[in-house]
């Protein structure tokens, strides 16, 4: 999600690339710094999610400009677009969508590898840390800008010994366009 490239480069259509290791190590040092600043793992998790949210609300415009998708008519389409277009575009990984619930309001995004967590080992005292929580925040922020209120949480994490990364997305509300001004103005 970090956009690198030479300073002053202004060719819009091409997507600027950044070295994957620089990205991973930068993220790792951000998490390390947050842990030493806050010292409370729950607080760190919340901060990571908030950072992700702030990124997501801006990221969605860039994604819409680059991917040129027009509309997603349902949550199912949206989840597919996130997994098959957005994640490859920004993180260079693709994800699968699975485990739909009968209402079509909850699904899981399954990632088999995650560039944020390359080279990372989670020690025992940080068992509660949700290392990739920033991704959950990004998805929440981005979907909120298209009026879908969702909750995202990690259900499996390879850093904790599971065999894949699974992000559970639950749709709370698909809001309608609301006229923001009062009618009697």
């Amino acid at each position: 999600m970090l956009r690198g490239g030479p300073a002053g480069a202004r060719n819009a259509p091409s997507l600027e690339q950044i070295n994957a290791e620089v990205f991973t190590l930068t993220y790792g040092s951000i998490v390390r710094q947050l842990i030493s600043d806050f010292e409370d793992i729950e607080e760190v998790n919340k901060q990571l999610e908030q950072m992700g949210y702030n990124m997501g609300i801006r990221l969605v415009d860039e994604f819409l400009a680059k991917a040129k998708i027009t509309r997603c008519s349902s949550f199912r389409d949206t989840a597919d677009v996130v997994a098959k277009q957005a994640l490859p575009m920004f993180l260079n990984v693709s994800a699968n969508v699975a485990n739909w619930n009968p209402d079509q309001t909850e699904c899981s995004l399954i990632l088999t590898d995650n560039p944020l967590a390359d080279f990372v080992e989670l020690p025992e005292e940080y068992r509660e840390l949700k290392y990739c929580n920033v991704l959950a925040g990004v998805v929440r922020g981005a979907l909120e800008m298209v009026n879908m209120e969702v909750e995202c949480r990690w259900v499996s994490d390879m850093l904790k010994g599971d065999d894949c990364y699974e992000l559970r997305i639950k749709l709370n509300e698909h809001r309608d366009e609301k006229f923001p001004f009062k009618d009697d103005d």
Partner: protein, 166 residues
């Protein structure tokens, strides 16, 4: 000839950017204040989008007039032409709305507006770390890129730029 003015709105109806190149009839004679003018423009866009969605002849399930639009349906409304000007619209799924008033003979500007969003708004505004989503912004780079882009598309005459910067 050329462009008259541009408005950029966000989902909440705030006009986050307004610029005019050529507006001989002052705002006071029209809506009263700039804020009212922007609100009215937003309301106009809103109503016309709902109206177009309801009147669409090819739509399988047409909503009733007055029901709120869901985001997934898209904005079917593109432009209208009046006596002296043509008003072009674009709405993006994230709620950003671009309104560009040009001269009557302008061709279909959907692609131009889309390129404006893709290449200029996203590049210079969204990627700007000082931009707070939801508030109006000032960005010289954005203005320069906007003028250059519109001039490239033949929508801005040299004397208008002189007038605007005067």
């Amino acid at each position: 000839m050329g462009c008259f003015n541009i408005y950029i709105f966000n989902r909440q109806g705030t006009c986050i950017y307004y610029h005019e190149w050529f507006r001989p009839k002052s705002v006071k004679q029209g809506a009263g204040t700039l804020q009212d003018d922007q609100k009215q423009m937003f309301g106009l866009f809103w109503t016309l989008s709902n109206f177009c969605a309801t009147m669409d002849p090819k739509d399988q399930e047409k909503p009733q007039l007055g029901t709120p639009r869901k985001i997934g349906q898209g904005c079917k409304f593109r432009s209208f032409t009046a006596n002296n000007y043509k008003c072009n619209f674009l709405e993006v799924p994230s709620g950003i709305k671009l309104v560009l008033n040009t001269h009557r003979e302008a061709p279909d500007l959907t692609d131009v507006l889309q390129a404006l969003y893709d290449d200029i708004f996203v590049e210079y505004v969204v990627k700007n770390p000082l931009y707070v989503p939801g508030q109006s912004f000032q960005s010289e780079q954005f203005v320069n890129a906007l003028n250059a882009f519109l001039r490239q598309n033949g929508l801005l005459q040299q004397q208008q730029i002189m007038q605007a910067s005067a």
